[in-house]
Symmetry: D2
Subunit: 441 residues, 4 copies
Amino acid sequence: MEQTIRPPRGRLAVLMPGLGAVATTLIAGVAAVRRQLAEPVGSLTQMGRMPGEDGSPVRIADVVPLATLDELVFGGWDVYPDNVYEAARKAAVLEPAQLQALRPELERIRPMEAVFDPAYVPNLHGSHVKDVRGKAAQARALMDDIRGFMQANGCERAVMVWCASTEVYTQPSMVHQDLDAFEEGLENDDPAIAPSMIYAYAAIRCGVPFANGAPNLACDVPALVQLAKRCGVPIAGKDFKTGQTLMKTILAPGLQARALGINGWFSSNILGNRDGYVLDNPDNFRTKEVSKLGVLEDILRPDLNPDLYGDMHHQVRINYYPPHGDNKESWDNIDIFGWLGYRMQIKINFLCRDSILAAPIALDLALLSDLASRAGMSGVQEWLSFYFKSPQVEGGARPEHDVFRQLAKLHETLRRIGALEPADEAGNEAPAAALAAAATH
Amino acid sequence: MEQTIRPPRGRLAVLMPGLGAVATTLIAGVAAVRRQLAEPVGSLTQMGRMPGEDGSPVRIADVVPLATLDELVFGGWDVYPDNVYEAARKAAVLEPAQLQALRPELERIRPMEAVFDPAYVPNLHGSHVKDVRGKAAQARALMDDIRGFMQANGCERAVMVWCASTEVYTQPSMVHQDLDAFEEGLENDDPAIAPSMIYAYAAIRCGVPFANGAPNLACDVPALVQLAKRCGVPIAGKDFKTGQTLMKTILAPGLQARALGINGWFSSNILGNRDGYVLDNPDNFRTKEVSKLGVLEDILRPDLNPDLYGDMHHQVRINYYPPHGDNKESWDNIDIFGWLGYRMQIKINFLCRDSILAAPIALDLALLSDLASRAGMSGVQEWLSFYFKSPQVEGGARPEHDVFRQLAKLHETLRRIGALEPADEAGNEAPAAALAAAATH
Amino acid sequence: MEQTIRPPRGRLAVLMPGLGAVATTLIAGVAAVRRQLAEPVGSLTQMGRMPGEDGSPVRIADVVPLATLDELVFGGWDVYPDNVYEAARKAAVLEPAQLQALRPELERIRPMEAVFDPAYVPNLHGSHVKDVRGKAAQARALMDDIRGFMQANGCERAVMVWCASTEVYTQPSMVHQDLDAFEEGLENDDPAIAPSMIYAYAAIRCGVPFANGAPNLACDVPALVQLAKRCGVPIAGKDFKTGQTLMKTILAPGLQARALGINGWFSSNILGNRDGYVLDNPDNFRTKEVSKLGVLEDILRPDLNPDLYGDMHHQVRINYYPPHGDNKESWDNIDIFGWLGYRMQIKINFLCRDSILAAPIALDLALLSDLASRAGMSGVQEWLSFYFKSPQVEGGARPEHDVFRQLAKLHETLRRIGALEPADEAGNEAPAAALAAAATH
Amino acid sequence: MEQTIRPPRGRLAVLMPGLGAVATTLIAGVAAVRRQLAEPVGSLTQMGRMPGEDGSPVRIADVVPLATLDELVFGGWDVYPDNVYEAARKAAVLEPAQLQALRPELERIRPMEAVFDPAYVPNLHGSHVKDVRGKAAQARALMDDIRGFMQANGCERAVMVWCASTEVYTQPSMVHQDLDAFEEGLENDDPAIAPSMIYAYAAIRCGVPFANGAPNLACDVPALVQLAKRCGVPIAGKDFKTGQTLMKTILAPGLQARALGINGWFSSNILGNRDGYVLDNPDNFRTKEVSKLGVLEDILRPDLNPDLYGDMHHQVRINYYPPHGDNKESWDNIDIFGWLGYRMQIKINFLCRDSILAAPIALDLALLSDLASRAGMSGVQEWLSFYFKSPQVEGGARPEHDVFRQLAKLHETLRRIGALEPADEAGNEAPAAALAAAATH
């Protein structure tokens, strides 16, 4: 029996909970790229290269069969009723003149009513929410939304990428441990089931891959992993790896490569967008903090290198600072030591743009999740760790944070997928087993 | 016929042209480490780990048979007559109290008279130079020095690491193209033969591996590569990869991994040590500048990625600024662009210590050059690129600058060497061919 | 009747609650300066100049009759029993070798037992505290300490400078409103009377000037101002103006001078000394935050310049970060706008040393408070605002924060004092009225 | 005899040699302000306040009678024929949409042909130059331009502000020493007479005040000072004090106020506009460097404070870096020392906009030069030092660099001018003597 991959025929729905700064920057950007007004910089699937068979760089789209930008149809949910043009203007990421040129196209995209629970995002007070009582009923309403959107837009396939706000910090409890308990919890309106989990549940149930761009759990609970495997759906998370953490996962392996010691890494951020406002709530920040703090330990392994990293103070601060809007700025102070313990310092000031860095990641995750789905892969896609601050892994494995090892694993998986035979007309699916092995090792 | 490696039996002479800041920091540091007063941080051979057979990290000294620090005997040449204690005090890298504790041991090491040509380092005016006319005679005097030092100190083997000042910028000319022309040039006192080349020639002729820590050519000319192969001697260069360029070769691959564009990279340095003083001369700076500028182009490949890197302005400035002494400080401004071409900036301020970063590199190169020699490897050791700003390669190959690929190549070669059988008592050498292949690919 | 000033005859006791980093750096420094091992840089009274009568710079000690360093006798109280040598070693501000050279002299200075209330500094757990119940009794014990110290050390005069930790945030309440209420509160052990107030009360009652280096209220309550006036004692506060706030009060007037607008000023600090540890408690930080936040508003006057400063976000963060010890580091991001509202940014990274900046301020305040006392000045010394983050003023006046105006007022007052006639042998005091006018306008 | 000031009746021509980034930003900005599309931030005359009689802040326009923006008529000369709209688009300082809104008004302003000498600006190759041989004839042609412009635009008065490129470094020679020599030099085409001097000569001869925004000599030679006095014309210079030097003259007085020592101040700049391109020529840079270097010495007086400033290394670098365009960025490293000589560092990164900072200075100088002229002041206006990096002074006086003292002098002079009686209908002028005294002390 041969392994095969379904070709990317037909339109692909890209559905996003949260039509805020990231989602509207993505949607407007793809519109601009389609009209050749701009380039999709930062997107590996569109602009990146990987080493080909002979080592020379080849475009990723030449290695694996990806959906093209022309085939994407964007939609989503939001707690505010603004259409994408209005939301993009408020997000103030892209220049007004640029948005103006795309206005009619963007105005046509209106959010569906959101499933929302203020207990999970106390700082937001949206009104555009479903008038549906009960989490099970909310899940069904979302499934109706998904199917309705696909039908209305003539889509063959769909993917869901969580672009909404960070929810308050929670840890998995009994209700998340297996699918039965979870579905019972939905019926019972268990408060431990967050809105993001209801979205993830609805997506997976519909056979739609789910990728989580925020640090809250969403699909990162055993019940939903189980469901994803049962339904043959790929899932991935958590938390888009953008500015500061991206830099950290680039730099830390470099310092480690040189056997330089680290005794402190202080990271501060200032940002003024809706994300910053939500994170101004300590419980929501806690979710983000946990996501950001794990990075160094996993790369540097103080347990194995106590002389170099055993006494490392790692702190992360996020400050809501309105004057900067979406122009997130990070400042890192890294205290390192070298030969004989002599101390040195590295200061990094990154004047980044949060959504400009996140949008191409959301795009790549949409296209690669769809690719995985067509290749018959299901469950946690560890090979997509490259894109996440806090990579979801299976069964207590140690996540890989080193961006260069993540990239190597991404390339390796793409190469394996690229070697699959296309499925024949009848569209028989590829067996998942071998690929899953490729993706999780 | 089996491949073998000679074990590191007996004492190893580490001979350094230039007993300045780097060399004295190395010598004092090894003395402190031997007495367990400090740790050799920054040295991969002493503190680093690499993935072992099962992927878990192992110490490098457990993979390959390295000379131990106890077996090292340090010596060198300098244009100033100061002993190592005095020179270290003037260099002002290590704390006076620390040097005081090692004083007797350091005072015993006195430089041999240097081969020096003021035309190559106009800003230095040393007096402790050999009173020998003619470059051929100078080469012979150096060979006498090497053999004399080894005999006097009971050394079985030796390595030479260039730790002296950067010479003025020159490009290879006819006299460097083959060994006959070079040796004729020595006899004729050809002005195109720099002192560093005379040292390299003397070392190789004596069967002593040569590693070049400065950006001047030294062994990076066809004549000396030819000699190294003929004599079965490993050579490597150029220019210790310390602060700013190290950061560059860490960061650039990371930005590239994310398909982020770069339109400018401005690098400025301030330093106040002897190195800075020498580089204050434009002709000497030119040598350094060429070494530092090549890095980005080779990593980012603007030829293949013109949309992302085709319009990149890369500038490097070095400023002699006495207040900072050896505390070199770099400041980088990196202008990047992401999604739709939106611009962002990264600023890096590295408060480093030049010699603290360089000393462990010199140590590693001494030990790994000796390792290569015992493993029968000769000619250019491209697998040591990890340590160099401007890696010497053979025959027009493209140097590898990406620090993570350099590290992978280093690991791979160490693994191959680690798999060699020890040579038997008779000490028959390992055939170089297979290893050379490993090292240069 | 003529105005006179008593000459600085005899020894001056400098008594400090809190023999921690600042106090020990001051004491060790004065010891080093006396032996000509170092210079009292940062002290205006020792190294600074002011415009003389003809505008050309003259030394301050040539303008007014100051006590000399040789006449100072240091003492203090602390919750830890370490002598000054031990405390200075733990504070790790000065180099061990430097402290070693002064060791016998520093070891002789041992703290008296402190008046301490853990409710005011929850993060400290000192044991070297007075076993005296009741705040009135504690005040009497401190007065005994003061008189005992002066007698034992043959001191003619004394000053007290608060160098202890920041207490938790409180606002003045009824018990602070007049002296009777305050003294009744002492008798009743009113919880709103902080230890710093007991010290201030004891000092003033003894005729000893009091200066407050921390942001807690201490003498900044009506009851103690009343007492100071009644007793003819000068007082001053609050909070030594060191690193970041110093920079702020230098820069803000400069930006304002150019009519440049500001829409955000974000200030972050990392420090790892005891001060940082205490401020890690939110209630203690609140005291500091209030002290630091008032600065900009008073300089920029958004009420008068709403177009330029009406929408300014000012945030201050302090992070306890042990790797830096006393080497406090601040990072400021200032968002300014110019012509037509175009935006620009200023980033300031100050790698300072907290106690190195604070010690000379404590010295100047000791000497200038004594000067004021000899000149017959009493009550709040607004002319010492130059030294404080949050200058204590009288009766609801607006504090002056602009460092250049503060300096002008300091100079003006010194000039007036310098013009006083020396008191005759009988030591009759100068009338306070005219001087108080000089000092408070 | 009463002192009087002529009221600002009628239109004022503002003539600028160099219609580049600064001039077009000024012209477009004033157009935008007139239409209430933006605010003239950074202009003291428009937005600033000064202490009024009772100390409370008052608007400067309420203190002295200034020309209003509605009365200004802009014109100038350039070596390129672009109209102001085109030139502003190329300068890329203001946003395209903003310029578009002002387009017709800006297109109407076309440069007159320039007097240009490539020997003074080797990097520029303009074609829009006068076809007039001989410097005397060129001066006459400029005078014709001035009078023609005033007549054509119905202007009562005019001022000239040099906004053109920095000329190569020269020092005053014999031909500049007195007016006769200078005028003879004009006739003889003396190569030491720079184009900027011809402009200044023409302006002064026409009774038009001249202010010099670049560091080249222009009116800063005895001959032209003599002419200015003889003709009763105010002149001022040199070099608009914008980003880095502004910061320096703010910070240095602050550090000095605290008696903190400085042993190094390293200043680097990157900029990519035409100014940067011109300064890429070492001879032109030399002019700028001299202007920028004098600042610290005059403020800190190492001669009087050798312990604090006697060993200070001050370096300034300017790097032409195209990616930043007009967004000049400076980076300063300041090495300071405090108590006992302990070292600290301040790093300042100023992301400024060159022309945004310069345009309001040019505006203020135009209005204040006109004010001075109406008040009968002539010769060097030292009270305008506030605006200049390298203030022109008379007769070997020491320039004042401290921005706070400069501001005080500015305020004082404005107060004196504000106290003048308006001239009566007949328009009799104010006597210059008393005012000149105010302005030069």
